[in-house]
């Protein structure tokens, strides 16, 4: 069969019948490719020992149902999760992070059904906080969004395999994304708490520093923010605002939530100005946005209301249209290598999906007033 570029039927999808056993001597990597269980990269052939070790790390009970994964609504048991984790190349000790991430993704407010099926390119971004990062050897530093670390790469890949295999998000079938993005292979980082002058993200949201959490956002790819000239908070954050203020990221037209990842050098300069998380998020919110008229061709196509944006946005030509409806919808992290004056803006899908922060191994917010960097919000 010759390749017909652009046709969706050249993408593999699993056939409906259950797999017969493979004959001794079979090339299992090719066997799994033929079954259509892969994301396109070779799978690690699972063995009974590896699956058992991963199920044990998840707490045993292989048949325990964790979630049903849309849009196929396949049952994700601990054993099925373990199979996908082994296939992705995960070590057993990554299990609690992957399990927490899947539980977060399947909370109704995340709307995984929509995230999987949309024509937009969004893919779940996972950010891990707390001691779990170090315990499993995650990379929060140099090349944090890139390749080279087993935990980051295979945890993100395990999520994608579950979304494909259990959730049925096969491109062209139930995943209708026009373009997709490279994070659909793996999109998993850790916050660089050690290099950050700010409180960790999960502490800002009420968890204790010794707790570990997963944060999931349906997200576009990171957009680099270069700034090598500013030596104060406002100067650097103005560059982040510029990256945020394009008329065609999905937040600009569909509101929702976004993420900003400050590189450690930028974070250090901002902190030297005495700014805290609260100040940074409010500045970004107040000084980003688009002119309403710029969003819709300056009247060329008639008057546009856009029901995707909050009713309280002023729909007048010169009005500022915020990128997201509130400073609380900007999720701020510090990550990356200690050298380099770079940050990143990561747009979200929009109001159709709410991000989820969830404790690993049952961790819950400590309760009481939220105090970060000496500021308490009651």
């Amino acid at each position: 069969m010759g390749l017909e570029m652009g046709k969706t039927d050249i993408i593999q999808a699993p056939p409906p019948a259950d797999a017969p056993p493979a004959p001794e001597g079979a090339d299992l990597i090719e066997w799994y490719y033929e079954r259509g269980y892969s994301d396109g990269l070779p799978l690690v052939p699972p063995t009974p020992e590896k699956i058992a070790a991963t199920v044990a790390a998840l707490g045993g009970e292989p048949g325990r149902l964790l979630a049903r994964v849309p849009p196929r609504w396949g049952s994700l048991t601990r054993e099925v999760l373990a199979i996908n984790m082994v296939m992705a190349g995960c070590r057993p000790e990554y299990g609690l992070v992957v399990e927490a991430a899947m539980l977060a993704l399947t909370e109704p407010r995340f709307n995984l059904n929509g995230v999987q099926a949309t024509t937009h390119m969004a893919s779940p971004l996972l950010v891990v906080n707390g001691p779990a990062r170090g315990a499993i050897g995650m990379n929060a530093g140099c090349n944090v969004f890139g390749s080279g670390n087993r935990a980051n790469a295979t945890i993100g890949r395990a999520l994608r395999l579950v979304l494909l295999n259990v959730g049925g998000g096969w491109p062209g079938l139930l995943d209708k994304s026009t373009l997709g993005h490279p994070g659909k292979y793996t999109y998993c980082i850790a916050e660089n708490e050690e290099a950050s002058p700010l409180a960790p993200y999960h502490v800002e949201h009420g968890y204790r520093a010794q707790d570990s959490t997963v944060f999931l956002l349906a997200a576009e790819p990171p957009h680099s923010v270069t700034n090598h000239f500013a030596n104060d908070a406002a100067g650097i954050l103005d560059s982040v605002c510029s990256a945020m203020s394009t008329i065609c990221n999905n937040n600009a037209v569909s509101a929702g939530h976004c993420a900003v990842v400050l590189g450690p050098e930028h974070a250090a300069t901002i902190a030297k100005s005495g700014w805290k998380r609260h100040d940074i998020r409010h500045y970004l919110w107040a000084h980003s946005g688009n002119r309403w008229d710029d969003l819709y061709g300056r009247g060329r196509y008639g008057k546009v209301y856009n029901r995707n944006l909050p009713v309280w946005y002023k729909r007048e030509p010169d009005a500022r249209t915020p990128i997201v409806p509130s400073p609380d919808n900007i999720h701020l992290f510090v990550a990356g290598g200690e050298a380099g004056r770079f940050s990143a803006f990561i747009p979200g899908w929009g109001h159709m999906s709410a991000p989820v922060l969830r404790g690993i191994a049952g961790a819950r917010p400590a309760g009481g007033p939220e105090c970060v960097d000496g500021t308490c919000a009651v």
Binding site: P14, D18, A19, P21, A22, P23, E24, A26, L28, W31, Y32, R35, Y37, P45, P46, T47, P48, I51, R68, V69, R72, W73, G74, S75, L76, T77, V80, I83, N84, M87, N111, N113, G114, T118, T119, L161, V162, N165, V166, G168, N306, R307, M352, S353
Partner: protein, 96 residues
């Protein structure tokens, strides 16, 4: 003797009973038509245009217009039940 290697299916079980589709109607005369708007930008324009064309060509019994809460989420079960109870046929559309 042929030995085999254990292999694993990573897909998990789908616990849902398959439903058959309703029989196709042969005439629209006298039928109650539901229009389900998914609330995307142009869905209402598309559906209202289709409604007008259908109404010109067929003696529909009734036309009822419904809207989903969000284009990105499934219609609420109560809305689906209401549509099923009050209509014979349903037309839905997205319109980006």
């Amino acid at each position: 003797m042929n030995k085999s290697i254990p292999v694993y299916d990573p897909r998990g079980v789908v616990e849902a009973a398959p439903l058959s589709t309703a029989p196709r109607v042969t005439t629209l005369a006298g039928l109650r038509l539901a229009l389900l708007d998914n609330t995307k930008w142009n869905a209402n324009k598309l559906l209202r245009g289709l409604r007008d064309r259908l109404a010109r060509k067929h003696a529909l019994g009734a036309v009822n217009y419904y809207r989903k809460e969000s284009f990105a989420a499934a219609a609420a079960p109560e809305l689906l039940a209401e549509i099923a109870a009050a209509n014979d046929i349903v037309l839905t559309a997205i319109g980006d």
